[in-house]
Amino acid sequence: MEKRVTFKGIWLPLLLVLPQIAITAVFFFYPAGQAIWQSLFIPDPFGLSMQYVGLGNFEFLFSDPFYRASFLTTAIFSILVTVVSMGIALYLAVLADRLIKGSGVYRTLLIWPYAVAPAVAGVLWLFMFNTRVGVVTWYLGLLGYDWNHVLNGEEAMGLVVVASAWGRISYNFLFFLAGLQAIPKSVIEAAAIDGAHFWTRFRTIVFPLLSPTTFFLLVVNIVYAFFETFGVIHTITSGGPQQSTTILVYKVYSDGFVGQDLGSSAAQSVVLLVIVGLLTIVQFKFIERRVHY
């Protein structure tokens, strides 16, 4: 029984939504429209003339091995970021949920990283893992491991994943903790009396009851890994070495602003637009079904 507010005329509600519509129009519809329009042309590097090529930009993109490699990189990157950040966050949330004393301190400390901007987080991790002066690099050196993410693509990927996941743990932790605390205590007690030990309870009761939260976070984290990790990648690896950390969003930037191939960059934006659209549809479909009970 939702409470609905009803308006008599059309003008007041229109006025009330106008600011939001204006913002969406200026910062989303207009640039998105531009991107779609530009993806059909190849402009000259100076932006003085454009040549219509139809879907040529897209044809070129999907036959470009670098672009297809970037798809794979993005998939690996976003899966790792999502799994790492959600896994650690869930683990910490389960621990925090069991805590009776000092949970406030624990919670506050865990939330802090969320306040750090991605680019700043990237720089922090970059300092720690700097190949010449990084603290972690030095300790790894003592252990006999030669860390060099500037040359090693896998290490570079590992570093950007950790840096991107780190700030995300706070966000996921908050949602998981809220989800855990929303589970009635008596349900857990009933399961304990029914004979389920901690791990069984977690598997059969707690985790299924958390599934709305988990699914929500899954989608949000994938979207984050796809689009909001630009700052981290830009500060740490700039997509390298050898494009090993060039995710789709970063390729939009490097092809468009560094490579000056504006047509291809626009086409890539359109591809990303479609991906976000699909993710959103999946999210709504699932949230309406199954996950709620």
Binding site: V187, E189, I193, P208
Partner: protein
């Protein structure tokens, strides 16, 4: 079926003592109701038997086995919670069979036992539904079913009926009693409702501020309350208490006197107390007459509806038989 014995059970949360030593030996198949006002420690006592709260001091034995340090699952008990605590993502059948599934019982046996319990509780049409598709009374039954299916040695009920409406509560009360008789499982039942306690219990424990004020059969407690608290808590409307000085011919050394409303009578002569009628509540079968006595206290007389109903403001006298008069000392103990 099992015996349960509590030996000097105590509970403290930090420095606050909430239960100050409760003793009782419960026979096999006995239905024990723990009754008391909110905050008296009755739920805590039950949760200590269940293993959901640690026992600060004293011992709990189930069938001569000390269970103080055993996990809830090792105590062979089942519990019905106030909010039912059903697993929302499972069907009724899964809810009821969960304990058996965890225990690794074969599927046929689980289905068999769930069906038997469902038949007993008239839940058969709902086995494939989820808790949110059931009414309050049905959820209550599922919670009972979950307890029955496991065939535990002891049932623990934590205010299982307080979320139901009045009519359903009376009906479920009867069902619980019949079910317990039929299954013969030793039961501990916590409630704040003295009517529930009176109707369900073989014996009841009346708790007051962490102490068991009295343990005994309902009618015995009703007829012979050990303390002023018990006399006031058990029985509705509650017992009238007044200072012994108020009565014209004090024949007792008690400080406070208590007389149940049904034992008081409105008389015109030979009155032990006099007062004036404040107002009457006609309930159909009976009438409650509220009388203001000289020290401004208001006492209640419960009389049959056939008796003449005095009009408000009428001066009247009150009388009662000396046998029905209960005397209490300054600590509320029975004289």
């Amino acid at each position: 079926m099992a015996t349960v014995s509590l030996k000097n059970i105590k509970k403290s949360f930090g420095k606050t003592d909430v239960i100050h030593g409760v003793d009782i030996d419960i026979q096999e198949g006995e239905f024990i109701v723990i009754v008391g006002p909110s905050g008296c420690g009755k739920s805590t006592l039950l949760r200590m038997v269940a293993g959901l709260e640690t026992i600060t001091a004293g011992e709990v034995h189930i069938d001569d086995r000390k269970v103080n340090d055993l996990e809830p699952m090792e105590r062979d008990i089942a519990m019905v919670f106030q909010n039912y605590a059903l697993y929302p993502h499972m069907t009724v059948a899964q809810n009821m069979g969960y304990g058996l599934k965890i225990a690794g019982r074969p599927k046929d046996e689980i289905a068999d036992r769930v069906d038997t319990a469902a038949k007993l509780l008239q839940l058969e049409p709902y086995l494939d539904r989820r808790p949110r598709e059931l009414s309050g009374g049905q959820r209550q039954r599922v919670a009972m079913g979950r307890a029955i299916v496991r065939k535990p040695a002891v049932f623990l009920f934590d205010e299982p009926l307080s979320n139901l409406d009045a009519k359903l509560r009376v009906q479920m009360r009867l069902e619980i009693k019949q079910l317990q008789r039929r299954l013969g499982v030793t039961s501990l039942y916590v409630t704040h409702d003295q009517v529930e306690a009176m109707t369900l219990a073989d014996r009841m424990i009346v708790m007051n501020a962490g102490r068991a004020d009295q343990i005994g059969a309902p009618l015995e407690i009703y007829a012979n309350p050990a303390t002023e608290f018990v006399a006031g808590f058990i029985g509705s409307p509650p017992t009238n208490f007044f200072s012994a000085d108020l009565v014209q011919t004090p024949q007792t050394d008690a400080k406070t006197l208590g007389v149940r409303p049904e034992h008081m009578e409105i008389v015109t002569e030979n009155a032990r107390l006099s007062g004036e009628v404040l107002y009457c509540e006609a309930l159909g079968a009976e009438t409650l007459v509220h009388v203001r006595v000289p020290n401004e206290q208001v006492l209640t007389v419960r009389q049959s509806a056939e008796k003449p109903q005095p009009s408000e403001g009428t001066p009247i006298g009150l009388n009662w038989s000396a046998n029905d008069q209960m005397g209490f000392d300054e600590n509320g103990k029975r004289r």
